[in-house]
């Protein structure tokens, strides 16, 4: 089985978010980048397929050279080789288009992406990618098994779960549940040393058209002061909600 895991290079959740260029660009200054958590669940599941079912695991990212440490980390965790498509990731369609070229060429049986990346939370790439390469697609995937040519996936749906059976090739939009947080792997020292020797191929982009453009970003208003109201004093709470917060 050939697996491709899409790895998005995103700011750590504890990063301070700022914008530059008139609020049109994310300020990466001093920001720590990590593997997108949804992708990390997928990568960890892919490692399971590698170890238990002899799969090969390639990883791919659309981005500039600054994303390579993130790819190396995924290699250190155990992926076999990496591909970086050398262009700035600007919108979902562009990324899906760039990924699709490699995905087709590589004849992958399974493509694991994250449900969304936690930077812009677009959530469009896996679906578009599946469409572009004509593969089956399961989104919000929380469990995945593969038996021969058939995958059995469980999707999270409102208030419950749906079990889906799909023919390979398959694209999934994965999330927590594929594996649990405690299953996530810290790369070991030997893995880190070996990562240096594993192939990381840089491919030039197809030059997919970019259909959307960020006009401006804005941050939520800062949190106001917190008022604590004693549970014995519900009148006071109603008074505050009504007269001060004016929400009831």
């Amino acid at each position: 089985m050939k697996i491709l895991v899409c790895i998005s290079h995103v700011p750590d959740t504890t990063s301070k978010i700022n914008f530059t260029d008139n609020d049109t660009k994310f300020d990466t200054n001093g920001v720590q980048f990590v593997i997108n958590p949804n992708d990390e669940f997928g990568l960890t599941r892919a490692m399971w397929f590698k170890e238990k079912q002899g799969a090969t695991v390639d990883i791919i990212n659309v981005g500039g050279p600054e994303t390579e440490p993130t790819l190396r980390k995924a290699l250190a965790i155990g992926a076999d080789s990496a591909i970086r498509i050398n262009t700035e990731a600007l919108d979902g369609y562009q990324v899906a288009k760039e990924l699709s070229a490699v995905a087709k060429e590589g004849n992958y049986d399974l493509i694991i992406a994250g449900r969304e990346s936690i930077d812009y939370n677009g959530g469009m790439v896996p679906g578009m990618l599946a469409n572009l390469i004509g593969a089956s697609f399961v989104n919000t995937c929380i469990s995945l098994e593969v038996d021969g040519e058939t995958a059995t996936a469980i999707r999270e749906i409102d208030g419950g779960k749906e079990t889906v059976s799909a023919k390979l090739p398959l694209v999934i939009g994965g999330q927590k549940g594929l594996v649990e947080e405690s299953d996530l792997r810290i790369p070991n020292m030997r893995g880190i040393m070996m990562a240096r020797k594993k192939p990381l191929e840089v491919k030039e982009p197809q030059g997919a058209e970019i259909e959307t453009k960020a006009v401006s970003f804005e941050k939520p208003a800062p949190k106001g002061e917190v008022k604590l109201v004693s549970p014995d004093n519900l009148d006071e709470l109603i008074n505050l909600l009504h007269n001060e917060a004016k929400v009831i």
């Binding site: 001093g30 390579e68 440490p69 190396r72 980390k73 250190a76 810290i186 790369p187 070991n188 020292m189 030997r190 880190i192 040393m193 990562a195 240096r196």
Partner: protein
């Protein structure tokens, strides 16, 4: 490694005192390569996952948890970083070794101690001095964490005077085994280790001998109860009793009577690694301190906004930055020195031994400086937390108790202070570091007419570098005259030695801090480094004060009349700023950065 290995003129140990170092020639934490950065993240992740959530258990004598975490560290390869690949280690360089030690030691002293005792003094004597058979037999198990090691040097009657131990090793009549009898004390990891490195005396030898002894209760080995300690509550510390313990002669380490040398060389590595072990601990205390200070409101103001608290945060960050700067500078010197030795055909163990021994002075300096920085950091951490700082439910209390041990083990800070100066004097006598000529030059300068030119200090950190050069003259003046005065009897004048040592320590720390900053200013620009520049200046400011005070103490103790007056005048000249730094403004700038980033951000 290769790119620096051909630089044969890298600074030798102790030479920092008489040679100027170009900032390009110091290694800084900003020079970590991609692999090292990934290692750092890995170790931090490991600590955040395996140690931090269990902090409470570490405070309640959960020795099994320490063992469990150590085993997991072994699975990640963290115990074999420094071990050559042929013995199932990773064979990484000294900087990487320090880095792992740094980041694994930050959250609890219990793991810092268990890790240090196992990978340092528990394993190194075998990798450095073992025969091929000994290495094959023991090192792979120790490198992977299948087995754990402990180091038995100290005895009830032999602490700082480590060569005075009473433990005996007696050769059997057939010449095949030694029988060991004696009592060892304060042995870290004793409760769960598989191998002891034991030092014992054969007959009436002048020096002790090292042995590898497998932990086998049926072979006359028994343990005392766990010691009740101030800190590092989940680090196992017990007495170890040897009662007719039989050890095959093949388990002798190096030769008969070489134990003291082994013990001391293992301690050199142990000392610099202990300095590393005090780094992330400082970062974490600062991180917790500033988060608390930003949240805690008194007088309707977050306490982080108060000058008194800002001053603490700035000083804590500055000392942490200084101890990082000096630790990694020395680490890279050692790594390069090892590479040079390897290139010229030395075996791995020989190269490593000589490489570390070369910088034994720096190892002692770092051990003292970093352990005291850590202690002060935790102490101020408590103060920032106020009453909560004193509570065992908040993190500062444990950090403070855990920090205390670092000033005691691996040679007390007193012993290390004396060693630093003592070794330097020895190096000078051997001609490895020329102190004599520079000291004479300072002597001439003292009697000559001072220059009245006003130097141009417009370039960033130029006045600071000139100041460090002058501080080196202070050391040469004080130590040079003291040696002249007392000769070999200098050893008897301990307070003078301690003062000289403090001068030496402050010079190394201040210089390392300035050089790191200068290098980064050249790379990243002055604006990006303004807080670092402030830290370099603030550190130096204190160093000048300490040096002034210690030098005065020393001078007055051995010089009189005109000689004393001349030296005190020289001291004034060598410690004089042209532009007095505004330390309050410096602290404000540093504190502003720390509080706005809400962590230790350097």
């Amino acid at each position: 490694m290769a790119e620096t290995a051909d630089k044969k003129d890298i600074l030798r140990g102790g030479q920092f005192l008489v040679k100027e170092t170009a900032c390009e020639d110091v290694f800084t934490p900003e020079d970590f390569n991609e692999e090292q950065k990934m290692m750092k993240e890995t170790v931090k992740e490991f600590v955040d996952r395996e140690i931090v959530p269990h902090k409470e258990r570490f405070e309640h004598k959960d020795y099994a948890l320490t063992e469990e975490v150590m085993r997991k560290a072994g699975e990640l390869g963290l115990l074999g970083i420094a071990v050559p690949e042929e013995y199932d280690g990773l064979g990484m360089g000294f900087v990487s070794t320090m880095l792992v030690c740094d980041y694994i030691s930050g959250a609890t002293g219990s793991i810092a101690t268990a890790f240090g005792a196992h990978t340092g003094i528990g394993t190194m004597p075998i990798t450095l001095y073992g025969t091929e058979e000994q290495k094959r037999k023991y090192v792979p198990k120790l490198a992977t964490g299948e087995w754990f090691g402990a180091y038995c040097l100290t005895e009830p009657g032999a602490g700082s005077d480590a060569n005075s131990g009473k433990t005996k090793a007696e050769l059997s009549s057939d010449g095949k085994t030694y029988k060991i009898n004696g009592q060892k004390m304060w042995i870290s990891n004793a409760g769960f280790c598989n191998v002891f490195i034991v030092f014992a005396r054969i007959e009436d030898d002048k020096n002790i001998t090292g042995f590898i002894v497998e932990n086998d209760p049926s072979n006359g080995i028994s343990l005392g109860e766990e010691e009740k300690k101030l800190g590092i509550h989940s680090s196992s510390t017990r007495q170890v009793f040897f009662n007719d313990t039989v050890v095959p002669v093949e388990n002798m380490l190096a030769g008969r009577g070489e134990g003291f040398k082994i013990a001391m060389n293992a301690l050199n590595v142990g000392r610099i690694k202990l300095a590393a072990a005090c780094l992330d601990a400082q970062r974490r205390v600062i991180d917790m301190g500033v988060k608390y200070a930003n949240e805690r409101v008194q007088f309707k103001t977050p306490i982080a906004k108060f000058g008194a608290i800002k001053s603490k945060l700035a000083e804590m960050a500055t000392n942490a930055y200084a101890s990082e700067s000096a630790s990694y500078r020395a680490a890279k010197n050692i790594e390069d020195r090892i590479a040079i030795r390897l290139d010229s055909g030395a075996s791995h163990s020989e190269a490593e031994l000589k490489g570390v021994e070369e910088y034994a002075i720096e190892c002692s300096i770092l051990k003292v400086a970093a352990s005291e920085d850590m202690q002060n950091c935790a102490d101020e951490g408590i103060q920032i937390f106020g009453g909560m700082g004193f509570s065992a439910d908040a993190p500062m209390e444990a950090a403070w108790r855990d920090a205390r041990i670092s000033r005691i083990y691996e040679g007390t800070n007193e012993i290390n202070r004396m060693l630093a100066v003592g070794m330097l004097v020895k190096k000078a006598m051997k001609g490895h570091v020329d102190l004599l000529n520079p000291a004479m030059a300072v002597g001439e300068e003292l009697t000559g007419i001072p220059s009245f030119d006003t130097p141009d200090y417009s370039e960033v950190l130029s006045e600071e570098k000139a100041m460090v050069a002058k501080l080196k003259k202070v050391f040469l003046m004080v130590a040079g005259s003291a040696i002249q005065k007392y000769g070999p009897e200098l050893e008897e004048h301990q307070q003078l030695l301690m003062a000289a040592s403090d001068i030496l320590i402050e010079i190394y720390m201040a210089e390392s801090t300035i050089l790191r900053t200068e290098k980064n200013v050249k790379r990243f620009g002055e604006d990006a480094q303004k807080e670092q520049i402030a830290m370099a200046q603030l550190y130096l400011y204190h160093a000048v004060d300490i040096i002034t005070q210690k030098a005065k103490e020393g001078i007055v103790s051995f010089a009189e009349g005109d000689e004393q007056r001349m030296m005190l005048m020289g001291l004034k000249r060598f410690t004089k700023y042209q532009n007095q730094p505004n330390v309050i403004a410096l602290r404000n700038l540093i504190a502003e950065k720390v509080t706005s980033e809400n962590t230790y951000p350097f």
